[in-house]
């Protein structure tokens, strides 16, 4: 199934807002670390509902925020959630970014990078569009160390790349990005029921759920264009 078919269906079901609510628990911390200056041009790869671009405009004073998504329905929804003139959305693919060389100051991506058909190619594209000193804030919940995420592939038709933290660092460096930071950002907001309620529909034990959210959380890798 194509990215377009899979995620157009998600958007039609309103899953874009559900993801925004859940991802925001950690994404807000990621966004607040970005060295965005007033007037900067920022890009959100796999923008879904588009919350990141809106946040970088409001909180960091970005001059223009663009969200790119392979699903026309996602961008259509995202566009309907804002009337900020300086936020824009485009339909595009991670493998062929429709932006000029050195045209972007900073790139953010949450829970989307690993859908790239060719992640190494996507990193090269990111390098091409970032200006020197521009950062790529790459946040994922699906990665090797997070064993609780491994089963997600069963529910998604699009093939996902499951790298370890080390593989992220290595791939960034191989593409020529410097790695500035890597961190696990805990989700301290998802509610975890008392032990007596386990097993739940999704979780065998409370320990597993605590580990997934409070310990592994979101893996952030920050690359910077030399």
């Amino acid at each position: 199934m194509s990215v377009r078919e899979e995620f157009d269906a998600w958007a039609a079901e309103g899953r874009d807002r559900g993801m925004e609510d859940r991802h925001w628990h950690t994404a807000k911390h990621v966004l607040s670390r970005m060295p965005v200056e007033a007037g900067d041009v920022v890009l959100d790869l796999g923008c879904g509902s588009g919350y990141a671009g809106r946040a970088l405009r409001e909180a960091a004073g970005a001059g223009r925020a663009y969200g790119l998504d392979g699903s026309p329905e996602m961008t259509r929804n995202a566009r309907s959630y804002t009337d900020d003139e300086s936020v824009g959305y485009v339909v595009g693919d991670f493998g062929s970014l429709p932006f000029d060389e050195n045209s972007i100051d900073h790139i953010f991506s949450m829970e989307a990078f690993y859908y790239a058909a060719e992640p190494h190619e996507t990193l090269r594209e990111i390098r091409r569009v970032l200006r020197p000193g521009g950062t790529f804030y790459c946040a994922v919940n699906y990665y090797e160390e997070n064993v609780h995420s491994h089963e997600w592939q069963e529910f998604i038709e699009v093939e996902m790349t499951r790298w370890s933290a080390r593989e992220y660092r290595e791939a960034f460096r191989e593409a020529g990005l410097h790695v500035a930071e890597q961190d696990n950002i805990p989700d301290n907001e998802t509610e975890i029921p008392p032990a007596s309620e386990f097993p739940t529909e999704d979780w065998e034990t409370r320990e597993d759920m605590v580990e997934r959210y409070r310990e592994y959380g979101t893996l952030l890798t920050v690359g910077i264009e030399p």
């Binding site: 194509s2 392979g70 485009v90």
Partner: protein, 64 residues
């Protein structure tokens, strides 16, 4: 889309400049139109204010 996007947007295939043809405007935004690559001639539709810059082989045309 705002026309200011043209500053930084390019053809996803050969990364060359795009020409804008406007069919419909509203409040300073382009709601419908076409972006054409000045180099390879490939065209990209703008629908409901959103440019579709997928590589053409990944695009599914909506029924006319």
């Amino acid at each position: 889309m705002k026309e200011s996007l043209l500053d930084i947007v390019c053809c996803p295939l050969d990364k060359e400049e795009l020409d804008l043809e406007v069919d419909e405007r509203e409040d300073g935004e382009v709601l419908a139109g076409t972006l054409t690559c000045t180099e390879c001639g490939e065209t990209y539709p703008i629908e409901d204010g959103i440019p579709n810059l997928l590589p053409p082989d990944m695009r599914e045309e909506s029924p006319a």
